[in-house]
Symmetry: C2
Subunit: 336 residues, 2 copies
């Protein structure tokens, strides 16, 4: 069945294409009876305006892009849900792109977004992203850009984040008070040293501890997960074995659980574990996992709301910081 277009509606109604178009958009220029006739027939013939024609003409697409590093992660899944919900309320469509934590993919995706395919972009950066050229180019195209969670401080765009620095500090203090003295931080940022990340203004679970006390204890993970497994395992077998682990993503906490099981290390007795995580099953793990949970859904909603405010040329916040919540469970229980 060939889709019906304005021209056919017009012919059928003995009206001009312009009148039909205006009637469908409920223009004040059109008489009520005409509007009625037009909308009746449109419904009857199941008319659907071609979105590409109107996007071309109106020079916007009612489509946004969502670029995230991964998806099998409850935080991002919930954030997507928040974004999709707000977008659909506003009549917008959402294109999804996964970078798989790979810088090259993020750059390729950002470049392809320069084509005018979308009216705006919501992004969460790769862990190891230090390059900002692809982001700046997006802005040069006047494409509104909103960051969430993994943001770039050097690019001037609205950011929706949690109080990571503070949370990181709280988490580290929590481990300290539970008796930990050799704390290892596990992050997904493979390539960047702490000081580089600091310079780049890259925000993540940076902590005072990490920055000032034992930067050499930070293990950077990355795309090669088997390798990460080996590296953490080696650390746990070494003289340097930590008595506390702070994971910046749940994937790494899960890895630590598996490694501890393999090495027969007891959590929390031998090693205490805390993680940034939105795992629904945190309280059901053995032992239950102490987490810092981010309000993922709300962050998604907020990022989308800010983007749409920008698209409507309204002013919007430049920075929204939502509180993350420490949920203390068994994995950091103080020794007896």
């Amino acid at each position: 069945m060939k889709p019906v277009n304005l021209k056919e509606l017009a012919r059928e109604l003995n009206l001009s294409v312009s009148t039909v178009s205006r009637a469908l958009r409920d223009s004040w220029e059109i008489s009520t009876p005409t509007k009625q006739r037009v909308s009746d027939l449109a419904r009857k013939m199941n008319f659907q305006p071609n979105p590409y024609a109107s996007s071309l003409r109106k020079r916007h697409s009612r489509t946004i892009a969502l670029v995230i590093p991964e998806i099998a992660n409850n935080f991002f899944a919930l954030a997507i849900k928040g974004i999709e919900t707000v977008a659909r309320e506003k009549g917008y469509h959402v294109l999804i792109y996964l970078t798989n934590e790979e810088v090259e993919e993020e750059i390729a995706i950002a470049n392809s977004l320069q084509s005018g395919r979308v009216d705006g972009v919501i992004m969460s950066l790769c862990g190891s992203m230090q390059d900002t050229e692809h982001l700046l180019e997006l802005q040069q195209r006047n494409l509104p850009l909103v960051f969430f969670d993994r943001v770039s401080e050097t690019v001037a765009a609205p950011k929706v984040i949690t109080n990571d620095y503070e949370s990181g500090f709280i988490a580290t203090e929590h481990l300290f008070h539970a008796g930990c003295r050799r704390i290892a931080h596990l992050t997904m940022s493979m390539d960047l040293s702490i000081s580089q990340r600091r310079q780049q203004g890259y925000t993540d679970a940076l902590t005072r501890y990490e920055l000032s006390i034992h930067p050499e204890r930070v293990i950077h993970s990355g795309r090669d997960e088997s390798n990460t497994y080996q590296r953490i395992k080696a650390l746990f077998l070494s003289e340097e074995r930590p008595d506390g682990v702070f994971a910046s993503v749940e994937k790494l906490a899960v890895l630590v659980y598996h490694i501890c099981r393999e090495l027969q290390l007891k959590i929390p007795d031998d090693i205490k574990v805390i993680s940034f995580s939105n795992l629904l099953t945190a309280s059901l793990l053995n032992p239950s996992l102490t987490t810092i949970a981010q309000p993922a859904y709300e962050m998604g909603r907020e990022a989308a709301a800010i983007l749409f405010r920008r698209l409507e040329k309204k002013t919007s916040e430049d920075r929204v910081m939502l509180p993350a919540a420490l949920e203390v469970r068994q994995s950091t229980r103080a020794g007896s």
Copy 2:
């Protein structure tokens, strides 16, 4: 910065728009030196063809829609990843839509997809979907449609599924052999009775047990999760308390864990639990959860591959059934 278009490139090069267009598409009609000049300038001016103009002209969009019932579920997250990966390899874009398990939203989304915005659709249906009109209308528009996991047997479209019926049987047998005699099946399909689902050809974790032995023991969940919690809890407190639970989605298994904790019921001693699930943490739960894991990522890839084969007018399978894997863990350990 205003984006550059073909006309400006042509003016700059003293060529016609047609020639520039052809040169960029590497047409055999254009001389090599001209192609070189054109592509050099295009790169220099950062030319990006307007996708809406070419979609309008070519009458296809290199965009597909992905419609799924929920996202905070490892199965769907991994399936999305598979689909996005294949789509990007093929140069396609992916619009994502969440129905939130609501029939009305699924219908509204399907209807909006009739506009020609996408070249094809990949869908996983709401648990309680029995209506198929919106799906048939999509097909009447000649929009290629591929189902995965939650499929409609009455709509003639390719389906990517796992051997649910067989897996359900195996799971039920497994519970039986572990000593269960009062097995409750938990599903997300709120509105449909088993026989209705059978009639509709709706495929899910239907089992021989469910169909033939104790259909009255099936608890249908739905969007109101607190209510589901209460209903399961009531069941567990009743005379009818099951000694085995088979959950068709991990969300329900997690609910059961929480309820058992609240009621101080021991898994697996008082109740054994098995679930369709792709939870990464299944083996880390307390007790570890026996699962039937679906090859989610592969199912996503397969669904996308079939859709693209259809878009390229090649023939494709009508039905791909991948094996799910029973992973026996502590939650179904036989009593001593």
